[in-house]
Amino acid sequence: MMKYLLFLSLLCVLLACKKQEVATYKGEDGITFYVTRYEADSLSYSFAFSPVEKKRDTVFLKMRVLGAAADRPRTIAVKAGTGTTARLGIDYELPQITLPAGQLTVLYPVVLLNSPEMLTKTFRLVVEIAKSKDLTLGAVGQELGTTISLNKMTIDVSNQLMEPTYWSDIEPAFGTFSAVKFKFMIEVTGLSDFSYEAIGTSGYYNLPVKLRNALSEYEALHGPLIDEFGNQVTF
C-alpha cells in the first residue's frame, strides 16, 4: 500500500510541472514626440524675437522610437493635426525625414515661414505623428518619474512679441511682460531667449542691472518708456 502511495505522489509531482509561455510584445515599431517632465507640450515662436530679420526658421522637436533600433534608415512622417490654423507652404513646412540606422532618437525640424499675416496674427500648428511605411504612432504617456511621450506638439507662431512660455519663471527678476519691454531687452542685450536655462543664475540676477542702466540712459534722452498697455517700463 505504501509503495502505491509513494508512486502516486511522485506521479503527481511530475505531472504538476508545465511549461509557462512568457508573454512578449510583438508589433510595429512606433515613434512619438517626447519632453522631460518639466518641459511643456507646446511652445511659442515669434520671428520678432530675432535681433536680425528672418524669413524662415526651424524649430526642432524631440522624437524617439518605441521598439528596437534598425539596421536601415526609417522614414518618419508628421502631419498638421486638428486645431491647426497655420497654412502649409505659407506659414510652415513639415519635411519628411529619416531616422538614421541604429538610432532611437532624432530631432524633427519644423520649418516656420515668416508670412506677412504674422505681423498681426498668431497661427497655430499642431504637429502630429503620421504613420509612415516604417513607423507607426508609439505608445504615449509618462515614464515613471522621467519623460513624457506625446503624439502631438503645438507651436504658436507669429511675428509679434508674444509672451514666452517661460516668462513666469523670470518674472520676479524682469517684471511683468510687455512687448515693448521685451523688444527693449532684446535690443540692449542682443539676446532673444531669456529663459532661466539660457541666461543662467548669474544672468537672472545680473541682466536686470544692465537693463536698468540702459533704461536710465534711454529715459534721460527720451523720457519714460511706455509699453502697449500704457504702463511705464521698469526693471
Partner: protein, 474 residues
C-alpha cells in the same frame, strides 16, 4: 523484502541521530594574546599643504615577545568629499610624509597589525591641512615697477610676492588693494591693480580669474576699491570708483561664486569704498555724493536710500557729512556694529550703526593730528579707535572723547595703513613706508589699549611701497 529494507534504513537513521548527540563539557583553554597599545603626545595635528607630517607613536606590547608587525597610515576627509578616496600615507612604523592633500580636516587612521595573530590595534588622529596661505596679512605693495601681493602668515612666516611665483607671471601697474572672502564653499582673494583685478584661490593663490572673467564688459580701477561677502554670504560685493557691483555668494548658489559681476548698480550715487554688512538681510553703503546711507537687500540688485528716522541719533537718509573711514565695532552672529569717521568743514566725527540702528554721533575732540589722520582701526572689544597721522599712531578713547599718542616711528617713515587683528582685537598691525620700501609692524595691546612695552613685537621687511593691508581669515 523492500519493506524490511525501508524499516532497517529508518532504524539506522534514528540510531545515527541518537548517537550523534554528545555532551559538551565546555572545557575551553584561554590564552592571553599579545596586544599593542599606541601612544602619542597629541591626537590632533595641523600641517601646511606640501609640508611634511611627522608622527612618532610609542608602541607597547602587552606580552613582549619579539612579534613582528605591519603598519598602515591611512588618511581620509572627516566629512566625505565626493571623488576623494582614502590615501595610504605610509606603511612604516613612524609617519613622515609630504602632505599633498587639499586643505581640509582629515581623519588619520594608524593601524598596527600583528603578523602572527592578525590582531590589529588602531589609533585615530585628527589632521588639519592648511593651505599655504591659510591665514595672515595680505600686503599689497609696489616694487620694481610692478604690483606685488605679499603675505605674512599667521605663524609669522613672511612670503614675499608669492602670487607672482605661484602663477609664473607678473602683475603690471600699481597695486591698489587685496581682499579675501572666505566662508563655507568659498575661498577667494581679489588683488586689485590699476591695470585690472586678479582673482586667486585664497588657499594657494592660484589665479582663477582676471578682469575679463569678472567684468566681461571691461572695468577700470583707479582708486582703492573694496570687496567682501555680505553677512549672509549670498552676495559678493565690489565697490569701485564709487559704483556697486555684485556677484553671487556661496549661501544659495555655491556653484556660481566664480560667475561674472553685475554692471554698476543703477542710480545717482558715489559710494565710499566700504561694505557695511551689519545685518543678514541688508547691507549698508555710504553715498558720499548725497551724504547718506544706502542699502541693498540680499540677492537684490537695487540700491535704495536707507530710511531715516527723526527719533534716531542721526538720520540715515541725510547724514550730511563725508565718510573717510569705516571699521568694525562689536560683532555677533545676527548683527554687527560699524564705526564711521565722517568729516565736514567743522571737523571730524565718529558715527556708528549697530544692526540697523544709528548709534554714536560725536565730534572727535581732544585728539592731536586727527585732522591729518589717514588710517583708522577700531576694536571689537572695547570702545577704542586707533588712528595714524604721518609717522604717529594715536589711541582715541571713544567714551572719554580724547586721544593719546602711542607710538612714533622714526623720521622719514610714513604710516600708510593700520588694521586691527579682528579675531582678538588685541593687535594693531601697521604698514609703514620709508621711501619706496615698506615694513609691517605688529603692536600687541594691553587691556587698556596701550601698546605692550610701548613698542612693536614683530617687524617684517622686504616689501616695496605698501599701499594696503588686509587680513585673510581662516
Amino acid at each position: 523484502m523492500r519493506k524490511h529494507i525501508f524499516i532497517k534504513g529508518l532504524l539506522s537513521c534514528l540510531l545515527i541521530m541518537v548517537f550523534s548527540c554528545r555532551k559538551n563539557d565546555q572545557n575551553f583553554i584561554y590564552d592571553k594574546m599579545n596586544e599593542v597599545s599606541i601612544k602619542t603626545d597629541s591626537t590632533s595635528f595641523a600641517v601646511t599643504q606640501l609640508d611634511s607630517l611627522k608622527i612618532k607613536p610609542q608602541l607597547k606590547e602587552s606580552i613582549p615577545g619579539g612579534d613582528s608587525y605591519t603598519y598602515e597610515w591611512k588618511i581620509y576627509p572627516q566629512i566625505t568629499v565626493q571623488g576623494q578616496s582614502p590615501v595610504i600615507l605610509s606603511t612604516e612604523k613612524e609617519l613622515k610624509a609630504k602632505i599633498v592633500l587639499p586643505p581640509n580636516t582629515y581623519n588619520l587612521q594608524y593601524k598596527v597589525t600583528n603578523s602572527k595573530t592578525g590582531v590589529a590595534s588602531y589609533m585615530l588622529y585628527r589632521v588639519l591641512v592648511n593651505g599655504a596661505f591659510y591665514e595672515g596679512w595680505m600686503v599689497s605693495n609696489n616694487k620694481d615697477g610692478k604690483a606685488q601681493l605679499s603675505f605674512v602668515r599667521a605663524d609669522n612666516a613672511l612670503i614675499l610676492n608669492p602670487a607672482e611665483a605661484v602663477n609664473h607671471t607678473t602683475y603690471p601697474g600699481h597695486a591698489l588693494a587685496a581682499y579675501s572672502a572666505v566662508d563655507y564653499n568659498i575661498a577667494l582673494t581679489l588683488f586689485f591693480t590699476d591695470q585690472g583685478v586678479y582673482r586667486f584661490n585664497a588657499n594657494d593663490l592660484l589665479q582663477n580669474g582676471t578682469t575679463t572673467s569678472l567684468f566681461p564688459g571691461g572695468k577700470q580701477f583707479n582708486t582703492t576699491p573694496t570687496y567682501a561677502l555680505n553677512k549672509l554670504a549670498t552676495d559678493q560685493y565690489i565697490v569701485s570708483e564709487g559704483g556697486l557691483y555684485a556677484s553671487l555668494g556661496p549661501t544659495f548658489y555655491p556653484a556660481e561664486v566664480l560667475t561674472p559681476y553685475s554692471d554698476r548698480f543703477t542710480g545717482d550715487y558715489l559710494l565710499f569704498p566700504a561694505i557695511i554688512s551689519t545685518t543678514q538681510n541688508s547691507t549698508f553703503f555710504y553715498d558720499n555724493k548725497y551724504k547718506r546711507f544706502m542699502q541693498a537687500a540680499y540677492l537684490d540688485r537695487t540700491l535704495e536710500v536707507s530710511p531715516g528716522s527723526a527719533a534716531a541719533s542721526f538720520d540715515l537718509s541725510n547724514v550730511g557729512k563725508t565718510m573717510i573711514a569705516c571699521d568694525y565695532g562689536a560683532q555677533s552672529y545676527s548683527q554687527d556694529e560699524f564705526y564711521f569717521i565722517m568729516e565736514d568743514q567743522g571737523g571730524r566725527y565718529l558715527y556708528s550703526i549697530n544692526g540697523t540702528t544709528p548709534g554714536l554721533k560725536q565730534t572727535i575732540g581732544n585728539s592731536p593730528d586727527i585732522d591729518k589722520a589717514s588710517a583708522f582701526a577700531s576694536s571689537s572689544v572695547v570702545k577704542h579707535l586707533y588712528y595714524a597721522a604721518g609717522n604717529k599712531i594715536y589711541l582715541y578713547d571713544i567714551l572719554a572723547n580724547s586721544a593719546r599718542l602711542l607710538y612714533t616711528f622714526h623720521a622719514g617713515y610714513t604710516i600708510k595703513d593700520i588694521k586691527m587683528l579682528r579675531s582678538t582685537s588685541k593687535r594693531i598691525v601697521a604698514a609703514v613706508n620709508k621711501g619706496l620700501a615698506g615694513e609691517v609692524y605688529y603692536f600687541d595691546l594691553d587691556n587698556l589699549g596701550n601698546f605692550i612695552g610701548n613698542t612693536y613685537v614683530k617687524k617684517f621687511e622686504g616689501f616695496g611701497e605698501i599701499v594696503h593691508l588686509s587680513y585673510r581669515n581662516p
